[in-house]
């Protein structure tokens, strides 16, 4: 089956198909969403207007049995940052799209009636329907999943992509839910407000049926299986991907960041949380097992790392996923909350409303810092978050993220870059991640170049987190590698094994070559990562970003963080070196030099 672009224009409800352009043949996932956003969205487009696009793309290995190869890229212009956005999710949608032969689902336009709600259904035979479902307006994600299930045949196999009430309300920190292996809408393209983009297009949900469809075919099946086996054994062999992540989940990081003095606590005012162990991965595991839960599962079919888990309430019933480390931190340490059940309640509310748990936890921490509610008061935090459903209440401000909350309540320390909240590592005591936060095109985003590997975890070498030297180079290399993994459709957690086991890296290009029939090698993987980032940097330039936007808030350079009493020390010159290779690669790609390009776009 060829790879196609499937376009749905919400202005006139038309559906068109076209073969993937030859120039984009080596792109998938993040590279492809970026290429489409770069090519089709004006820099000054209103993110919630008809000129923006919303793109869903499986990676190049989507639809295959490649371990951890089923990640989904969701792209568009971000209403939160005003720049390009690629928000990455687990769940079942990427494999379904790939099996349907869809390299990218591109949603364009906007319905004339802002109250219209639509369900887009792509059946396994490739047929597409767009049904009006105004009665689904305002439905929360879990109830919406049940409503969708009632529209499907009992023996169907399908994935869903859903938008909650926060996205419908245009909230700038709203995310898009993707169904997991059991059909729960609990995996998220959480960051950057793409739920609001989906809401602006009137799309309440998308159903992708892949019933009866098998894995996508390989150019060389035997070679693919051989490379796959090498890749799988590297993931099993490495202590992190083979043991720690399945046993404790992502939240195993809580205690280690607190010990390292890098766990942002009470709105980034301290680096260790006295109750870290009460909300960490070890306690989470003990509680889930004591309540009759299961140790672990994968967030999508084909995941061998299996870091996902379900949180159960005190009666042993499903409450929410994880919570993942970022959520346990943002709702926990950053708000001074020390109770995993309260954190799980906040996670469930965010999941049901369709809100990014990082921006929401940081927004709550900022709100607490304003004095409106107290640090540690989980009941008040829950009330504040839920109040967003009512006009004039503070919750609706919170739903627009940490920056909007800081602006509205006049808070001095607002931890954001490009308007997006910082994740769970303080850049003063983990300086490498500060480089990534400052420079990534995405706004503050740890996944864009996860320097915690060398800074804290001794994976892929060691670089002292408390010193500025070497951090820019580390972040640059990881940002390029991550853009490549996101384009291949691989989970970024494979990097823990890839950084330590050279053959795992080789196995990636061997899998790509055997699957696609195109030549892939180490240089080509690096080139894929670089081309992906070029699209992002050039789009952001066109949207008005300059090097001045690649900076942390000034308090990180001025206010020392306990226990190390240290400030962020990487120089601006070092920050600006991270993307100094972009003009050269852009010329190699045949794209206009940026100065001409800016003039060329109205």
């Amino acid at each position: 089956m060829g790879r196609e672009l499937l376009r749905v224009d919400m202005s006139d409800l038309s559906v068109t198909r076209e073969p993937l352009p030859e120039a984009w043949r080596r792109y998938g996932g993040r590279a492809l969403t970026d290429a489409i956003v770069f090519s089709e969205v004006p820099g000054d487009a209103d993110p919630l207007g008809p000129q923006n696009v919303l793109v869903f793309s499986p990676g190049l290995l989507g639809g295959t049995s490649a371990p951890n190869g089923g990640r989904l890229s969701v792209g568009g212009k971000s209403p939160l940052t005003g720049g390009v956005k690629e928000s990455n999710s687990g769940g079942q949608a990427a494999h379904a799209l790939a099996r349907l032969g869809i390299a990218a689902l591109v949603i364009t336009g906007r319905p004339a009636d802002p109250n219209a709600r639509y369900l887009i259904v792509i059946e396994a035979d490739g047929s597409v329907s767009i049904e009006r479902k105004d009665e689904w307006a305002g439905l929360k994600n879990y109830e919406l999943a049940e409503k969708i299930a009632r529209t499907r045949p009992e023996d169907d196999r399908y994935a869903t992509i859903q938008n909650g009430p926060a996205g419908e309300a245009g909230a700038k920190a709203s995310g898009i839910a993707v169904s997991d292996v059991k059909g729960y809408p609990n995996r998220f393209a959480g960051r950057g407000g793409l739920g609001a983009v989906m809401g602006s297009k009137g799309v309440k949900a998308i159903v992708l049926s892949d019933k009866g469809l098998s894995y996508t075919e390989h150019a060389d099946k035997e070679a693919f299986q051989a490379a796959l086996r090498r890749f799988a054994s590297a993931l099993k062999e490495h202590a992190v991907t083979g043991q720690a992540l399945p046993t404790y989940g992502t939240n195993v990081l809580m205690n280690i960041l607190s010990e390292a003095g890098g766990l942002p606590t009470r709105n980034f005012s301290e680096g260790s949380f006295e109750n870290a162990d009460d909300i960490g991965g070890e306690r989470q595991r003990e509680t889930i097992l004591a309540r009759g839960g299961q140790e672990h599962h994968g967030c999508h079919t084909g995941c061998t790392i299996q870091c996902s888990r379900y949180w159960l309430d005190k009666d042993g019933n499903y409450k929410t996923k994880g919570p993942e480390y970022e959520t346990a931190w943002s709702m926990g340490a950053d708000c001074g909350i020390k109770d995993l059940d309260a954190i799980a309640e906040l996670d469930r509310i965010c999941g049901d409303l369709g809100l990014d748990t990082i921006d929401m936890g940081v927004a709550l921490g900022v709100y607490m810092d304003s004095g409106k509610i107290a640090f540690g008061d989980s009941e008040a935090a829950i009330d504040a978050l839920l109040s967003g459903t009512r006009d004039g209440e503070p919750g609706r401000v919170l739903w627009d993220g940490a920056q909007a909350t800081g602006d509205a309540f006049d808070v001095a320390h607002v931890p954001t870059v490009k308007g997006q909240a910082l994740p769970a590592y303080d850049p003063r005591s983990v300086m490498g991640i500060g480089v990534t936060y400052a420079t990534t095109t995405m706004g503050a985003d740890h996944t864009a170049g996860y320097t915690i590997t060398s800074n804290i975890l001794s994976v892929g070498g060691t670089i002292d987190p408390l010193k500025p030297e070497g951090q820019a180079e580390l972040s640059k290399n990881l940002q390029i590698a991550t853009a490549m993994l996101d384009s291949a459709g691989l989970c970024i957690f494979v990097a823990f094994a890839v950084l330590d086991i050279p053959d795992a890296f080789t196995a990636i290009h061997d899998m790509l070559q055997a699957h696609t029939g195109d030549a892939w090698d180490a240089d080509a993987l690096v080139q894929l990562g670089k081309e992906t980032l070029v699209f992002e940097r050039l789009f952001n330039e066109r949207a008005g970003f300059t090097n001045a936007d690649d900076r942390l808030p000034s308090f990180f350079r001025k206010v020392p963080l306990p226990p190390h009493d240290i400030v962020f020390q990487v120089t601006d010159e070092d920050l600006d070196s991270v993307f100094d290779w972009v003009p050269e690669t852009a010329r190699e790609m045949g794209l206009l030099p940026s100065e001409q390009h800016k003039r060329g776009v109205a």
């Binding site: 202590a239 043991q243 720690a244 404790y248 992502t250 939240n251 480390y325 970022e326 001794s458 987190p465």
Partner: protein, 79 residues
């Protein structure tokens, strides 16, 4: 001299008092004791580790001082 030792993830099974949990435990050791000596005393499994003394990365050769807090992690990661 007195130090504190905290053991995380599956290493908490090796707490010196044999009780479960990860809370830091008091430990009496001789002057000049290194982290490597503690690892040997606790009979920790032979695997890579991440070590902190008073919130700073340390190595097995690090010599401990009165009042130090030592934290030992097996290889872990998340994100």
């Amino acid at each position: 001299m007195h130090i504190e030792v905290a053991l995380f993830a599956h290493l908490s099974e090796f707490q010196p008092d044999g009780r479960a949990g990860r809370g830091a435990r008091p430990f009496d050791v001789a002057e000049g004791t290194t982290i490597g000596d503690i690892i040997e005393m606790l009979a920790l499994p032979d695997e890579p580790r991440v070590l902190f003394v008073n919130n700073k990365h340390a190595t097995e050769q690090t010599v401990l001082a009165q009042g130090d807090r030592l934290a030992i992690f097996p290889p872990v990661a998340g994100g």
